[in-house]
């Protein structure tokens, strides 16, 4: 009986430890429960991205103004980050426009822009979740009567647990401070 109690206590301690390690920190964006559908058609919870630091942004494929520059700036930033740290880094771009950006549109855009699927994810989610995702990232967007969007253009650096480390509004050229923050994060993780 004593042994059983001992075993149970041990089991509780172990499971307690595992649970504590698994708990998403309060300041993590992974507290948000939503599903993303990727350019490959895979449906995965946002929180399944936990474990890898991320560069995150929002865009839409039919955007002709700033969005192509957002994607270019992400490419440029990724290249500027030191190896081997950047091998741990993933890139996530979520569409503002779920009505037009279906899986086929995302896939076509990824191929056209030569986005390496080993670390690039273009994703869509439903309209209500787009609003929440933008809210948790602190991004603004509005659909215009012509179907285009007004939206804020920013890149965010997210750590492996989903905390926003830093952000930049510099689009169209490299933000050295943002790159330095990414290098620091990746060196420490």
């Amino acid at each position: 009986m004593k042994r059983l109690a001992c075993c149970l206590t041990l089991l509780l301690m172990i499971s307690g430890h595992v649970l504590a390690a698994d708990a998403v920190p309060g300041d993590s964006i992974y507290n948000l429960k939503l599903d993303l559908t990727t350019q490959a058609g895979k449906v995965e919870p946002l929180a399944s991205r936990r474990g890898h630091p991320q560069l995150v942004t929002m865009f839409y494929t039919s955007c002709t103004m700033v969005c192509p520059m957002i994607i270019d700036t992400l490419k440029q930033t990724y290249k500027a980050i030191d190896e081997p740290g950047r091998d741990k880094l993933d890139i996530l771009a979520v569409s503002f426009d779920p009505a037009r950006d279906d899986v086929a549109a995302l896939d076509k855009y990824a191929s056209k822009r030569h986005l390496d699927p080993s670390y690039w994810t273009l994703a869509r989610t439903n309209l209500a979740d787009v609003r929440s995702f933008a809210a948790i990232l602190g991004l603004q967007f509005q659909k215009r009567p012509d179907g285009d969007f007004n939206h804020s253009s920013e890149l965010l650096l997210i750590d492996a647990d989903g905390r926003i480390v830093t952000r930049t509004k510099v689009i169209g050229k490299l933000d050295p401070e943002f790159v330095a923050a990414a290098n620091k994060l990746l060196a420490g993780s």
């Binding site: 998403v24 309060g26 300041d27 993590s28 964006i29 507290n31 948000l32 955007c63 103004m65 700033v66 969005c67 520059m69 957002i70 209500a128 609003r131 929440s132 933008a134 809210a135 948790i136 602190g138 991004l139 603004q140 967007f141 509005q142 659909k143 215009r144 009567p145 012509d146 285009d148 969007f149 007004n150 939206h151 804020s152 253009s153 509004k169 689009i171 169209g172």
Partner: protein, 324 residues
């Protein structure tokens, strides 16, 4: 004394109704699925306040007519049993017809009207009592448990405790110091959502007799007066005058969250929208604000556009809406 009859009747039939009410309530709980049950329980907690008021009303009636006092708890059981047994009444929402509407923030940034589809809106903002019932059934939204990514440090700090209102937060006052995420979660619990800005603005443009009273100088004065109210004074309770749609407290009680608060891209200076903001805001840039004379509504836009979804403020509350 004819005035005593309803009370006496209530007392005579009390035991009968008590058992019928409880039996029906039990049946309901056995029959309904777990999700619907949660909804019922939630409704009951929300109704307790009303029931409490009812029983104290009945007691005061009893004492003035020297009739035997009805124990409060019995009435409580009776009434909650009846509330559960009776068809579930929706929290008060009214239908608004919608239509074409000239917003202070036109969708194209110039003068295009916005289109508001028919929708339902909550008659009153959500109260402390209602939000308390919500956090009791949704403990993740209690102030000591909420994820910091969803709410800042000030969340519900006017309450005495995580599950207690206390003297500084009256049950019928609108709940404030709630984040957009918390407001959204509450509305989901009512099978609703936050209204869009255009829905809110459309509903708030009316007065008691007109759907759009914004051209009236007196209407503008009244909506502006609210800004002059010292914020140190305790908030009034919900239940102000109804507008033409039967919606209350839109312009003169609290700031209110809207679903698309983060669609209101008001630049620091919207005069430069075609220049400096072009890179920061893809598309046509920050929206232009029109109808400068409608200052009170523009203030609300400015306030909402300045907030983050996790922010809470002393006077920011909310109400919910539903698509028709």
């Amino acid at each position: 004394m004819p005035s005593q009859y309803p009370l006496l009747l209530l007392q005579v039939t009390e035991h009968v109704w008590e058992s019928v009410g409880l039996w029906l309530a039990g049946l309901r709980i056995r029959l309904c699925g777990p999700y619907f049950c949660r909804f019922l329980v939630h409704r009951t907690i929300m109704n307790l306040q009303i029931v409490k008021n009812l029983s104290s009303y009945s007691r005061s009636l009893g004492s003035t007519t020297k009739a035997r006092r009805t124990p409060g708890w019995r009435l409580l059981i009776l009434a909650s049993g009846l509330l559960l047994a009776a068809p579930v009444q929706a929290i008060d929402y009214v239908r608004l017809p919608g239509g074409s509407f000239n917003s202070v923030v036109p969708p194209d940034g110039k003068a295009a009207p916005s289109r508001v589809a028919p929708f339902e809106m909550r008659v009153e903002p959500v109260t402390n009592a209602e939000f308390l019932a919500f956090v009791k059934t949704h403990p993740d939204w209690q102030r000591d448990r909420v994820a910091s990514v969803f709410s800042d440090q000030r969340y519900l700090t006017q309450w005495a405790g995580p599950e207690e209102l206390g003297p500084a937060a009256l049950p019928q006052q609108p709940v404030t110091r709630v984040s957009w995420f918390a407001a959204q979660a509450y509305c989901e619990s009512e099978h609703a959502r936050l209204p869009s800005w255009y829905e809110w603005e459309y509903a708030a443009a009316s007065d008691a007799t007109r759907k759009d009273a914004r051209q009236d100088h007196a209407w503008r004065e009244r909506t502006l007066e609210w800004f002059g109210r010292p914020s140190s004074r305790p908030l009034p309770e919900v239940g102000g005058d109804a507008n033409v749609y039967r919606v209350r407290d839109l312009n003169d009680l609290v700031w209110e969250w809207v679903d698309d608060f983060n669609a209101l891209l008001v630049g620091a200076d919207s005069r430069d929208q075609d220049g400096a903001n072009k890179l920061q805001f893809c598309g046509a840039g920050a929206i232009a604000m029109q109808q400068k004379e409608n200052y009170a509504t523009l203030m609300r836009v400015a306030m909402l556009s300045a907030l983050k979804a996790s922010d809470t403020t002393n006077n920011m509350g909310f109400r919910c809406a539903r698509s028709d």
